[in-house]
């Protein structure tokens, strides 16, 4: 292994690490939504770790660009790494926001069960795990799964939001909780979007093809 390859390996490992931190942060956020409130301290600790790794990835990439002049697949990997770390950092922030907001949803369990939010939460956990797995394996089947999961999450989110709006129209006392829940659902949906963006970046790394505006299911 040349010392440049060792640098690339190091970058790869940091991405795997930040990805797994985000995955556990998403699981915590789903737990906070479906069961009990999560201790803020632990969440903050993981958030700090994610932020530090995000900066570290920027620094490693800057250094590789400046010192190694990467080309071809190496160049794509560095470009992809920068974008992926950006998306992951956003996933981490959204998860934290869900954890905080979940505390403010009264009648949480009733609403969650009525609008099948548990399923949605599990799907978002799944897409996050699949995304990390796709980064590692570059498996085409996983790539396809990510996009169908993202589509399913969008549909489910839309349905749930429509249902919650109707609920709020007929029961005004649910407006506060309902609004918070809608925001949480939008966050979950956004996490799923970031996952499909990551899959697009990985696709670019592997196939040198930019597909980010080709999929009708992605917002960005």
């Amino acid at each position: 292994m040349t010392h440049f390859e060792i640098e690339l390996e190091k970058l790869n490992n940091v991405i795997v690490k930040i990805g797994s931190l985000a995955e556990s942060q998403v699981s915590e956020s789903v737990k906070a939504l479906l069961s009990e409130p999560i201790e803020g301290k632990e969440v903050k600790k993981i958030e700090n770790k994610i932020d530090k790794l995000d900066v570290k990835i920027d620094e490693i990439c800057q250094s590789i660009f400046a010192l190694q002049q990467p080309v071809a697949s190496d160049l794509r990997f560095i470009m992809g790494a920068l974008q992926i770390s950006n998306e992951i950092e956003r996933i981490g922030d959204l998860a934290v926001s869900i954890i905080k907001r979940a505390k403010n949803i009264k009648d949480k369990h009733d609403l969650v069960s009525k609008f099948e939010i548990a399923d949605l939460g599990r799907q978002v956990e799944l897409i996050t795990a699949k995304t990390n797995s796709y980064f590692l394996t570059r498996d085409e089947h996983t790539f396809a799964e990510i996009f169908s999961l993202n589509a399913a999450i969008k549909n489910k989110s839309e349905e749930a939001i429509q249902g919650i709006i109707s609920e709020m129209k007929s029961h005004s006392k649910t407006v506060l909780s309902g609004t918070n829940l809608v925001i949480v659902i939008k966050h979950l949906e956004r996490i799923s979007d970031h996952c499909s963006n990551i899959a697009e970046h990985v696709y670019f790394i592997v196939y040198a093809k930019i597909i980010k505006h080709e999929n009708p299911n992605t917002e960005s």
Partner: protein, 252 residues
Amino acid sequence: MRDIKIQVNDLSLYYGEKKALKEISMQIPANKVTALIGPSGCGKSTFLRCINRMNDLIPSVKITGELLVEGIDIYDKNVDVVNIRKKIGMVFQKSNPFPKSIYENIAYGPRINGIKDKTQLDEIVETSLRQAAIWDELKDRLGDSALGLSGGQQQRLCIARTLAVSPDIILMDEPASALDPISTSKIEELVHELKEQYTIIIVTHNMQQAARTSDHTAFFYMGELIEMGKTNTIFTKPEKKQTEDYITGRFG
């Protein structure tokens, strides 16, 4: 910087009336690669040649200031130049193997240093060629003429020849500029590996090579040392505008 190998204080060099190096002061750390960069005629090669007193061979040269290697001023009149050059190996732009066998190229230096024992010489030849990452390619043809090797192999052979006399410091003057990209990357990787044992100073016109191979970079311009720092810093946020202009290709 810890573990300073070479300390340069106000070093100036004149070719007759022309001042080619102007009050250079710098510290070169041990077991690191230091790259000297700058446009043609900036003084980087002249400076490199000061480190093993190669400029002594030019009659009109006058040098002032100090150049301390491990604390000893190599320009002190009591210093033995041959001893300095034993400790400081040099690799040139154009590979220059002796018109002898591969084995004899490596064994030559140790032999004139008094090593006669065949087993010991065999060991030195093998170790040096291994360190220069060329043993596997050459082990079965040690008796062949070195002149029959490719350019890249000849250059690695010359590096092995330098290593055979156990120097502390290796000076490299454009060691890969005449080589193809594959041989260049072999030399660059070699430089990276050798720094664990040696202090390496490399002059290169190729800025990307400086970036890839070195830990510290010194930028020379018109005989002056404009800026020296960690390579990562020089290539991402240099302090001086002249350095920025040079490395971004906006010079002049």
